[in-house]
């Protein structure tokens, strides 16, 4: 996979590009995520047809607080790519990528459940691991590790 080609092709949409331990990470603005993902999937030379994983990260108290991280894999080429989208604490909303990869459905529900990040245009955004009446989002850093729920 050619890093320069990606930069050239998606120049405007991509922020920082880092390589750590041989893994490439792109930081992307949240407004371009849906169109970028579609292009990453459909571009012949990239062909990221397989979304391995999608998850949230909470960097509280740093800002921007949240990140949504996409791990892409190409079945045809065998290469991987990480795409990261920073989100602010006050408005953690991002476009759903379910139209691009169907598998994102449960991943996005889990991310909503545990981080409270909302996915616009998700077909069925509700909690998946925790009960529907659960309060709070436990993978947020300000959610306590131990203790009982407030009375």
């Amino acid at each position: 996979m050619n890093l320069d080609a990606i930069r050239e092709r998606f120049g405007g949409a991509i922020g920082e590009v880092t390589v750590f331990r041989g893994e490439i990470s792109l930081t992307v603005d949240r407004d371009s995520i849906a169109s970028l993902c579609k292009a990453l999937r459909d571009e012949e030379a990239l062909a990221f047809d397989f979304l391995s994983d999608l998850c949230g990260v909470d960097r509280h108290p740093a800002a921007p607080r949240f990140e949504v991280v996409y791990h892409l894999f190409s079945v045809r080429h065998g290469h991987r790519l990480r795409v990261k989208v920073p989100l602010g604490a006050e408005d953690p909303v991002i476009d759903s990528v379910v139209p691009v990869w169907e598998t994102a459905d449960w991943h996005e529900r889990e991310c909503f459940d545990l981080f409270g990040i909302r996915f616009r245009n998700h077909p069925d955004l509700r909690r998946i691991l925790l009960p529907e009446d659960f309060e709070g989002h436990p993978l947020r850093k300000d959610f306590p590790l131990e203790g009982t729920a407030k009375p």
């Binding site: 391995s52 998850c55 990260v57 960097r59 079945v75 691991l129 436990p138």
Partner: protein, 389 residues
Amino acid sequence: MSAETLSLNLGPQHPSTHGVLRVVLELDGETVVDARPDIGFLHRGIEKLAENRTYHQIIVLTDRLDYLAAHSNNLAYVMAVEKLMAIDVPRRAQYVRAALAELQRIASHLFWLGTHAHDLGAMTPLFYALREREALMDIFESLAGSRLTPSFLRIGGLAADIDAGFVEAVRSFTDTFQARVDEYETLLTENPIWKYRTQGVGILDASDCIRLGISGPMLRGAGQALDLRKAQPYCCYEEFHFEIPAGTQGDVYDRYLVRIREMRESARIARQAVEGLPEGTWTVPGSPAVFPAKGDLKQDITAVIRHFGLVMEGFKPPAGEVYHAIESPRGELGFYIVSDGGSRPLRLKVRPPSFVNLQGLVKMVRGRLLADVVAIIGAVDIVLAEVDR
């Protein structure tokens, strides 16, 4: 729900759901109109716990994910940490890891085979499959001291060197195992009832699987021979000779054939690994992530200090993030670790193959009979501890 359909709860307390899976089925007579899987009954917040443990302490948490293949979880996790720390693991340790991973794959597939066949009314394979699995559990027990949760791996290598008894045990197991698989096959492969219950049931073609993120035997059963042991080799897999079995139809029967053949290949790999076992060390003594040798603790005060530091505070990897995936018995098992330079991960995400593969359930059961649902759930081969984490 309309007046014409019936809502039926399958699980969470039902033997055919292999744990605490609940599926709400909408039935029209015996035909499934829709299905709604409900998961999370076994959610223990392992990812949250991991953020509050040192990197060494997390190893035992990973055992509790996919408990039928705990060694695979250990392996994926320690390899992710080793990538983060840029540690080169000695070849001897890598060979032992690969051998254990393959024995674990066989043990997991055997358990799947026995319970899946039992679900569909074939009771005998369970007794046969668990007999061989017991031999494998004995190998794990003699090596690690426990059967289901070995935690035999350490960051940088193994917990201890293996002994001659291990090599001998793997030899004697692999000597007879191919004939054992022949026995299972005489019970099922050409069995008309088995074929009737599994052929043409729960079909997902390769493009469906890829769209749904489905990996492992389900994807290979649909004809896409994707296996991370070949696609992105780790643990010296590029040095072993083995085939990647694939099916054609993507139905329950093909998943059965793929797993049966995989067991044969795994036995071949485990045998090659112990026969070609390199000499040398099994850990990286100089690494800041590795505990000092037990013997040094009695002689050397700096070793005692280092040991104390590793236990109380842990080691500090550089800030950064890594994702490492291996081919677990169920598919792509990945660990994503974000480090902020502290002794505990800022974020640890498990990419659980069971969770992702289960998403295909709805598509597979629509329009099928209620009895097929049991066959289809069995063929996904889920472990709920991994689905729910």
